[in-house]
């Protein structure tokens, strides 16, 4: 029993089933990420003045990641185009680059998350702040050694001025009132950063798994049903371009503005 229009296009719509399926799915994804963006806007607009941070994320890494994803998008489309032109080896190369770029993105993201989770905001008993990474090796039971800087006030903490120099700061532990890492619970900005990029990362992982499986273990279908295989690559590619599209908005929203 064959399901019609799995590969051949239905005359009145001009489409094969999976094409419609994936665009419907992407429509729902637009609503998903859209709701997160609207939450971001609402929480930011509604935040009390001076409580929303700026320039807490490194645009160098974010920018590089953006270029990495753009590259992976174009190599993904070129991979599909190669299949359409019956050039198997070219497909393997281009799609291999796509997968490599995805892994690079994930690597950089892991580095960023790790950095944030080890970056601390320390409030001293006298109300002053210290901000930086803990030097575990040099810290003792009485003294915490931090590689960082001393923000003048809360405003400087929220909006770090450019050109900060990091120095080694020794803090007697008795003077520490509170210590919190730059994790999701620090404030709504970091919360949204981790949630939005975290959901995006899950989509990258899902997408690259599908692309990898098609490229590697399940590529036998190219020999038995090349048109169907090409369609699968196309559909996976549409998802991948969408994942890039989300990042195109995530990057300026979180990193630049």
């Amino acid at each position: 029993m064959q399901i019609p229009y799995t590969v051949e296009r239905r005359p009145d719509t001009g489409l094969y089933n999976a094409k419609i399926g994936v665009w419907l799915f992407l429509a729902s994804e637009v609503m998903l990420f859209g709701a997160l963006f609207s939450s971001y806007i609402l929480l930011r607009v509604g935040a009390d003045p001076g409580t929303w941070p700026h320039h807490w994320l490194d645009w160098h890494l974010g920018g590089f990641n953006t270029i990495v994803l753009i590259t992976s998008s174009v190599t993904n489309v070129l991979a599909w185009a190669s299949l359409k032109m019956n050039q198997w080896e070219k497909y393997r190369t281009f799609q291999g680059i796509t997968i490599f770029c995805a892994l690079l993105f994930l690597g950089i993201k892991t580095y960023e998350y790790n950095d944030k989770l080890h970056h601390y905001q320390i409030t001293l008993t006298d109300g002053n702040y210290v901000d930086g990474h803990i030097e575990k090796a040099e810290s003792t039971t009485d003294t915490l050694v931090v590689e960082g800087w001393r923000p003048e006030n809360h405003a400087a903490l929220m909006d770090p001025p450019p050109g900060i120099v990091h120095t080694k700061i020794e803090i007697p532990r008795k003077q520490i009132a509170e210590m919190h890492n730059y994790g999701p619970s620090l404030n709504n900005f970091t919360g949204l950063y981790f949630t939005m990029t975290g959901l995006h990362v899950l989509h990258i992982i899902g997408g690259i798994l599908v692309i990898y499986m098609l490229w590697g273990p399940l590529n036998g279908m190219w020999k038995t049903d090349p048109e169907r295989y090409t369609n699968r690559v196309e559909v996976a590619g549409l998802f991948w371009c969408f994942v890039d599209l989300v990042w195109i908005f995530v990057f300026p929203t979180l990193y630049l503005l």
Binding site: A27, M31, G34, F37, I67, S73, L78, K84, L256, L257
Partner: protein
């Protein structure tokens, strides 16, 4: 890439070849867009609203190119446009009304 039934395999391949150069140019354009966005937002702006508008305008332009060309929507069938049109409307409603609701939080209601 249009997918009319009447196209032969050769015609399809020729179309695809034509588009490869286009894709590469668009990719370069996207990268430039990203760099411009970074540059613009690192500058000091009087009006933060303007900064946001510029950054989002660049992002929307990049998005347009990805959707239209990388995802092929510019030559896609009508029915797909119709889903996306409804999605766009509901997206705007969801975002717009939710934010509209918030911005009136501290107002005196009876005028």
């Amino acid at each position: 890439m249009s997918h009319t039934q009447n196209q032969t395999k050769e015609q399809e391949i020729a179309e695809v070849k034509k588009h490869i150069r286009q894709h590469i140019l668009i990719a370069i354009g996207l990268v430039i867009g990203t760099l411009v966005a970074i540059g613009v937002t690192q500058m000091q702006f009087q009006n933060s609203g303007l900064k946001i508008a510029v950054a989002l305008a660049i992002a929307c332009t990049q998005a347009f190119f990805i959707i239209a060309f990388f995802m092929g929507l510019i030559s896609e069938k009508k029915i797909i446009f119709s889903f996306l049109a409804f999605t766009a409307i509901f997206f705007v409603v969801q975002m717009g009304v939710t934010i509209w609701a918030r911005s009136h939080d501290n107002e005196v209601q009876i005028k």
